[in-house]
Symmetry: C2
Subunit: 188 residues, 2 copies
DNA sequence: GCAGTTTGTAAGCAACTGCTTACAACGCTA
DNA sequence: TAGCGTTGTAAGCAGTTGCTTACAAACTGC
């Protein structure tokens, strides 16, 4: 019987990536404060001292997790579909891989350098959403849509409130996109 | 010059109330995890041992803070005005006293008995909101409105994103209530 | 083969956390 | 005034936390 070695041997890049992945999972499940560097290292199968060598601090690691995950979606989605795609990505929890939003939502009590990343991420989303309307207060309307997306994620993932938590994504999309369209189209 | 004694002398009820108030402030500012029982006791001007005598644990104290603040508004507002009142209460940050929503939003990473309170609070709000529509999926629509309210609070209080964070409450109300009305009125 | 760098490991430190305990001060009642 | 439950205080305990350090093992260039 052959056994492939589960352990990485002296591969800094792979170790760093494993730490990043493990951090994303745990930050998403428990939030920043309730995730320990020991748990991250354990899940990544690495020594915790390496975490500090590669990322400097727990805070900086959190920052990288947030920055990495957030930009992936926004960069790979055309503006007009962003709202629907982001909404669906949040609703279809089965096939989800990206835990960035959970990390975001479960770490709202945490102020740090990550705050800047959080804000910048919001700016990018809102900027794209703002292109969908020609109203004078486009930015404000975009913020309200963004708030709605985050609120739906909050209620679903953290509060777990029914019937929204288990609702059919199609139903939710239909309702939200309908209301959002009236908000965006009716220029003031 | 007369000086009134700042210190309470052997008044259990007053001490308990002071601890509850201090806890509400700090949980609202920092969230559950980043608030220590020592800080709460210090702000309340009480000994931290009393916190455990009167509330049992930090967790139970958090639960009481959430339960107390949440029911006040919902009990004192007629159903038809709840949406507008809750929204305005969240937007007018100058005159705000109630930090319960902040405590809620800043402690999303925290699972405990407070989760039950959180959920129950959401149920009560959603139940009232659901009476505003005659659609078949009234509960789902109510959840979406609730999610929007929470999301707006999240973006304003935690993320601090502009222009929403400093937007005129009247403008926000007009936009949100307009879109919410179409969501609620158009029965599916 | 050997010096020097990179990668991984084990151990520990100092600070902080929620919570407990032992005890003193107070005030009510008899 | 004596007794006693209530309120307040000081000190500390045991566990956890982020982070550091000292060192061993592996790879690289010469």
């Amino acid at each position: 019987m052959m056994e492939e070695p589960q352990v990485r041997k002296r591969d800094a890049a792979a170790t760093k990536a494993a730490l990043l992945d493990a951090a994303a999972v745990l930050f998403g499940e428990r939030g920043f404060d309730r995730t320990t560097v020991r748990d991250i290292a354990k899940l990544a199968g690495a020594n915790q001292a390496l975490l500090f060598r590669y990322f400097g601090s727990k805070d900086a690691l959190f920052e990288e997790v947030l920055a990495r995950g957030g930009r992936e979606q926004i960069a790979s989605t055309p503006p007009g579909e962003l709202l629907g795609t982001a909404l669906r990505g949040m609703l279809e929890s089965d096939t989800r891989r990206d835990r960035t939003l959970d990390a975001y939502l479960r770490s709202t009590g945490h102020d740090s350098a990550a705050t800047a990343v959080r804000r910048q991420l919001g700016e990018e989303y809102a900027k794209v959403l703002a292109t969908l309307t020609d109203a004078g207060d486009a930015d404000l309307r975009a913020d309200l849509i963004l708030a709605w997306l985050l609120g739906i994620g909050l209620v679903r993932e953290i509060t777990g409130k029914e019937p929204l938590a288990s609702a059919d994504p199609d139903d939710v999309c239909r309702l939200v996109l309908g209301a959002a369209r009236t908000l965006l189209e009716r220029s003031g």
